[in-house]
């Protein structure tokens, strides 16, 4: 991966919709925490920035079992903010381009290389699979042109790669930080995020053959 990029893993949330009582990075899929899955899949990325908040000490402990050379970034206001705030905090003092990666997102290993090797800005999307999706609409050039809560061609899952200088502070969601910059090149990937318990059961099934 280019040395002008950082990856920001957003692991600060309380995981309230999932209802398992812990931050999603620590949830186990096939006996392995999601953060461990992610770190193993992103092992070639040099500047990994992990945004922590709820259960910060537990996430730190879990990460240090895998690698020590990460930068933990605190989102102390995690209860009142969403992933947009974590992305902003993780982007501060990062490299020129930042890839935002939700702490509940699992990307197919074959697609990860494509994400890390692609230059410039881009937005990733997948086939619709979640219960509570945000949708993306794309044009004929395969650019993402719109996000919607009600309908769209695909599901917005992330990751997104943006110039650090364009990441502004919001207490809201990452897609709201992308919207003013649309259209942006789109990239279809196989990715699954876990917002609800139904998602959790589905993802466990999806990754059986990884």
């Amino acid at each position: 991966m280019s040395s002008i990029k950082s990856v920001v893993l957003s692991c600060a949330g309380i995981g309230s919709r999932l209802g398992l009582g812990q931050t999603k990075a620590l949830i186990k899929i096939k006996d392995k925490s999601i953060i461990r899955w992610q770190l193993e899949l992103l092992k070639d990325v040099e500047d990994i920035r992990i945004v922590i908040g709820y259960q910060a000490n537990d996430v730190v402990k879990e990460v240090l079992k895998v690698r020590k050379d990460v930068v933990f970034v605190y989102n102390h206001n995690y209860f009142n903010t969403k992933t947009g705030a974590s992305f902003y905090l993780g982007s501060q003092d990062a490299r020129e381009y930042v890839i935002e990666w939700d702490g509940d997102l699992l990307v197919h290993p074959d697609d990860i290389k494509k994400i890390l090797d692609t230059n410039g800005e881009f937005v990733c999307y997948s086939d619709i699979s979640s219960d509570e999706a945000v949708y993306v609409q794309i044009n004929d050039n395969n650019d993402v042109i719109n996000f919607s809560r009600s309908s769209g061609d695909y599901e917005w899952t992330g990751p997104v790669c943006m110039k650090k200088s364009k990441v502004f502070y919001t207490t809201g969601n990452v897609f709201e930080q992308i919207e003013p910059n649309l259209p942006i090149k789109g990239m279809k990937i196989r990715a699954y995020d876990i917002d609800t318990f139904e998602d959790y059961k589905r993802v466990s099934e999806f990754i059986k053959n990884w």
Partner: protein
């Protein structure tokens, strides 16, 4: 931009007071105090006075020579050497014990001060308030990045522009974490982050 570093455990790869205690075989008296201080259970100033009371009876020149040779975090030292004019050490340690060491590191430094008589610490003249060093540079219009791991770094980290808690030698004191922007456990990641701050 100025980078203010704590010394013990942040630039040095060993805590210096336990090293002195071990060299002079007074560990039993000091180890519990150090442990409780790192965990934030004894206020730093009280602990420091108690530790100096024990170690102050030991020969100053021998302590100074011992600490001159203490193991340092190599990559952190390289960063300081490459950015000497922007790096500052702020340490609660006594000037008479660590002056040789900090001169070897080569950047500007601020320490606590002792009155030495007959090669022994007679009394503590001043205990450094690290936050005053942060304030001094902020008043000059500098953005201050503070790097530390201990209880006595808390106030400096609270007011600094960027606060980096480090766990290079031991886990950082829990009471600094609410004031930290970043938490870093490896020299490699710390130096990468420091360079990205420019």
């Amino acid at each position: 931009m100025k980078f203010i570093f704590d010394l013990d455990g942040t630039i040095t790869a060993q805590e210096t007071l336990p090293l002195i205690a071990s060299h002079f075989q007074v560990q039993a008296e000091i180890s519990e105090l150090t442990k409780e201080t790192i965990h934030g259970n004894i206020p730093f100033v009280e602990s420091f006075i108690r530790r100096v009371h024990i170690l102050g009876k030991l020969p100053v020149d021998e302590i100074s020579d011992l600490l001159e040779e203490v193991k340092l975090h190599r990559k952190v030292l390289d960063f300081i050497h490459e950015n000497k004019k922007d790096c500052i050490i702020a340490t609660g340690n006594l000037d008479c014990w660590i002056e040789k060491l900090v001169m070897k590191i080569g950047c500007e430094y601020f320490t606590s001060e002792a009155i030495v008589e007959n090669n022994r610490v007679n009394s503590i003249k001043n205990i450094l308030k690290k936050e005053l060093i942060v304030k001094k540079y902020q008043d000059q219009g500098e953005k201050v990045v503070y790097i530390g791991d201990g209880n006595n770094d808390m106030e400096a980290m609270r007011i600094s522009n960027v606060a980096i808690a480090t766990g290079l030698t031991h886990h950082p004191a829990n009471n600094i974490l609410p004031f930290s922007d970043y938490l870093i456990f490896s020299e490699k990641a710390l130096c990468r982050q420091l360079n990205q701050l420019f």
